[in-house]
């Protein structure tokens, strides 16, 4: 399981690794040079302006491209989820501000749902925070708990925003490559280290429901000694296939959540009300039928497992070696076996997979995401032959992808 989940741990600050980035302001320059200094960006975002999504989303925006890149479902969200939002849009009071840390009916629903997994009561007001997407939870957790000079362990490959968010807090990411899947035993090793070094754990579990046959999702916060040091992040977008709703949540002990709340009250303050109410209603519908095959938490992984198997088979049939994911909705494959001629691609400094994806988007009208986007500078080379395909797509999209891939392989052989 590569990209479905990334984990962060902090080891706190160690003087020998402290780096201070200084940019001294030089006085006494002419007005125009002085102007350009003052209008320069704040140090905290230095070097963080490029972004793989902005670059590749633009490329894939051409409607003739079959887009298996960004994790954007093109399947329909569940009918009842859309219906709830439609009903709620007409209710006057739900078009105005709600509670900043989470709409009351939503935090109650989240508390009820997750109590089943944590085997403990979760205080909806003090131990849950609703944020603008899981991105918002990551931002609040990093800004609220991580100081300049702190070290943060990031496991490679990682969801790309972890590195710039850690750097933006003035902290130092420490990268550790993943070598095996997240078995219970490996999570225990991580937990033991967090406890031994008195470290926080930020656990991004947005794909928690998307686990395939023979696998189980374990919440590290449920391991002994971990609740008090873990923030667990979830996402409405991934849970109900509504990425455009931009609602996420953080769950954790109140002595940590309160600091995320401080960041929230000094940034976005509150999240959109009608979307929160609709999400609460949708959650209640599924909470009442957790063991039912119709429950979206059960039906979606079943539906996606079929698509996963289809993609695996397709990629294997053309000689690519996909890595079969145990969860999430992405699959990575080594594309160097296609031996594509990329000599006419400009910008030879880019990793192979960046050039490959751009070439494939332009020439084959199929888009994906280069896996080196999920690596730090030092490990990019290890992953540059891999490309990531998203399979939470309707059948007609997968049919179109299949046609392209099959035609491509016929050309070669």
């Amino acid at each position: 399981m590569f990209l479905a989940r990334g984990r962060l741990c902090t080891l706190g600050s160690r003087p020998k690794f402290l780096k201070t980035i200084c940019a001294s302001k030089i006085l006494g320059l002419s007005t125009s040079a002085k102007m350009s200094l003052k209008f320069k960006n704040a140090k905290r975002i230095e070097g963080l302006d490029s972004n793989v999504w902005i670059e590749f989303t633009k490329l894939a925006a051409d409607p003739s491209v079959v887009n298996l890149g960004q994790g954007l479902p093109d399947i329909s969200p569940p009918v009842y989820v859309k219906e709830e939002l439609s009903k709620i849009a007409a209710i006057d009071s739900l078009n105005q501000y709600t509670r900043g840390f989470g709409h009351p009916s939503l935090v109650k629903a989240l508390s009820c749902l997750y109590e089943k997994f944590y085997q403990n009561q979760i205080n909806p007001n003090k131990e849950i925070l609703v944020t603008v997407g899981a991105y918002g939870s990551l931002f609040n957790a990093i800004q609220g708990l991580i100081d300049e000079g702190d070290e943060v362990i990031v496991i490679v490959p990682f969801y790309d925003c972890y590195e710039p968010m850690v750097r933006m807090a003035g902290a130092i990411p420490v990268f550790i490559p993943l070598r095996s899947v997240y078995t219970k035993e490996e999570l225990q090793v991580i937990a033991d280290l967090c406890i031994k070094y008195d470290t926080l754990c930020i656990s991004d579990e947005v794909y928690e429901w998307l686990v395939y046959t023979g696998n189980k999702h374990f919440k590290i916060a449920t391991f002994p000694g971990m609740w008090e040091r873990t923030i667990t992040i979830g996402s409405a977008g991934k849970t109900f296939s509504v990425t455009g709703w931009k609602l996420g949540w953080s769950i954790g002990p109140k002595h940590l959540i309160k600091h995320l709340q401080t960041v929230q009250q000094n940034t976005v303050y509150t999240c959109a009300t009608p979307l929160q109410e609709a999400l609460a209603q949708a959650l209640w519908i599924d909470i009442k039928r957790m063991d039912d095959p119709e429950c979206y938490f059960n039906s979606l992984p079943k539906e996606l497992e079929v698509k996963r198997n289809r993609m695996v088979h397709l990629l294997e049939s053309v000689g690519l070696k996909p890595i079969v994911p145990d969860g999430g909705y992405f699959i990575i494959a080594d594309v160097s076996l296609l031996d594509t001629d990329l000599s006419d691609m400009k910008n030879s400094n880019e990793p192979y997979d960046y050039k490959f994806v751009k070439w494939m988007t332009k020439n084959k009208k199929l888009s994906a995401i280069p896996v080196s986007a999920f690596c730090n500078a030092e490990t990019k080379l290890q992953f540059e032959k891999f490309v990531r395909f998203c399979f939470i797509k309707k059948d007609s999209t997968l049919d179109a992808a299949e046609e392209i891939i099959k035609a491509w392989s016929r050309l070669k052989f």
Binding site: G12, K38, F39, N41, A42, I45, L48, D49, W53, I54, Q70, L72, P73, S76, P77, V81, K82, S86, A89, A90, D92, L94, N95, Q96, Y97, T98, R99, G100, V132, G133, G136, F139, G144, L145, I146, D147, C161, P164, M165, D198, L200, R229, G237, V242, G244, W245, K246, H255, L256, H259, T262, Q265, N266, Y269, T270, C271, A272, T273, P274, L275
Partner: protein, 374 residues
């Protein structure tokens, strides 16, 4: 956990007045004239736009040791946000020049002292935050006042962040002027707007910033490393609502014409009602708030219950909630701590309310007036 948990950037900014006052409003049975949200619906076309957005194309369910001058009174979040960024706020107050004739003051009589304002700028001043129309005062900065601010920003090469969320809510024929339109200002100004205030839909949480690419690119970097996107359907609904307004712009059917007309009536109703119990409201030129001088009450009831150094206006508001069933917001929360005493005899009322709420307010005020009679 043995080590300190929170990041240093949160020091001193963990307390938030809204969390306290919103909670109070929900616990008590009050007429809520506190937090600034309309208690009437958004216009039909906006609601329809949102309904259309949420039931239309299902793909809309998918995938938005520097100094900062802050003019007091200010919307409270400017200070903690500046601190969280490691900046240092420098405050300069609007001051009233009271009427000699005993008539009610207008927000226009609250002004900046040009010499004092100029003295706040140094070579380390990075930005100035402007808010017009102003919350809590309701002041609409005149062109001349903006020209003063603009000339200082240009002279000292300072970025101007201007919060213009109430730009459509101006009364008595007052004109809202965007400082970014003044000569020399576009390249150094970030202008902020809000769908919540424009279309009376505060729960949609869509806002925007306009400015030159050279500044916006840095905001985009922040955006992509914080929340990345804003909700799709809400943005689609706002877009559609603006398209509708463009067709009606400047005409009597425009929401931007009708809304200020309707809200001006609410403003005037509230002013008359507050006067009847001896409160002295300052007539706002814009926004959905007015502030009221409670000096008479301060001199008659100086010792209201509260914490040791709690400013008078906060104690007064809590007393008013408990004893008079009316909710307002103490103006000292919109001031820097050292200047709270200058403003602790003012409270802020929101008049962006339905007729029924204003009638409920009248009932409470009538009861209060009866209790005042000897």
């Amino acid at each position: 956990m043995t080590k300190r948990l929170q990041a240093r950037r949160l020091d001193g900014i963990d307390h938030n007045p809204w969390v306290e006052f919103v909670k109070l409003a929900s616990e008590a049975d009050v007429v809520n004239l506190g937090q600034g949200f309309p208690d009437f619906p958004p216009p039909d076309f906006a609601v329809e736009a949102f309904q259309h957005a949420v039931s239309g194309d299902f793909m809309l369910n998918q995938y938005t040791k520097a100094f900062v001058i802050i003019i007091e009174p200010f919307f409270d979040c400017y200070e903690p946000m500046t601190l969280m960024a490691g900046g240092r706020p420098v405050f300069v107050s609007l001051k009233p020049s009271p009427n000699q004739d005993g008539e009610l003051d207008s927000s226009s009589s609250w002004q900046l002292d040009p010499t004092e304002l100029a003295s706040k700028f140094t070579s380390r001043t990075k930005a100035l935050i402007l808010n017009t129309p102003n919350n809590p005062l309701g002041k609409v900065f005149s062109r001349a006042e903006l020209e003063l601010v603009a000339s200082l920003c240009q002279q000292h090469d300072v970025v101007c962040i201007t919060d213009e969320v109430y730009q459509w809510l101006v009364y008595d024929g007052c004109q809202h002027v965007s400082i970014a339109t003044l000569p020399g200002m576009w390249e150094r100004t970030l202008t902020i707007g809000s769908a919540g205030k424009t279309f009376s839909a505060t729960g949609w949480k869509v806002g925007w910033v306009l400015g030159p690419d050279s500044l916006l690119k840095h905001l985009r970097t922040m955006h992509q490393n914080s929340i990345f996107h804003c909700p799709t359907q809400a943005q689609a609904a706002v877009a559609q609502s603006f398209e509708r307004e463009q067709l009606h712009f400047g005409q009597p059917s425009s929401y931007f014409v009708q809304l200020p007309q309707a809200i001006q009536r609410c403003r005037d109703h509230m002013i008359q009602s507050l006067k009847s119990v001896g409160l002295r409201p300052v007539i706002p030129q814009g926004s959905y708030f007015l502030i009221t001088d409670i000096s008479e009450f301060k001199s008659k009831m100086p010792n209201l219950p509260g914490a040791a150094d709690e400013p008078y206006d906060r104690r007064f508001v809590k007393w008013m909630i408990k004893n008079k069933g009316l909710m307002a917001i103490p103006v000292s929360i919109f001031c820097s701590v050292p200047h709270q005493e200058l403003f602790d005899h003012y409270i802020r009322f929101c008049f962006m309310k339905d007729e029924s709420t204003l009638r409920a307010m009248d009932k409470k005020l009538q009861k209060w007036k009866d209790e005042l009679r000897p």
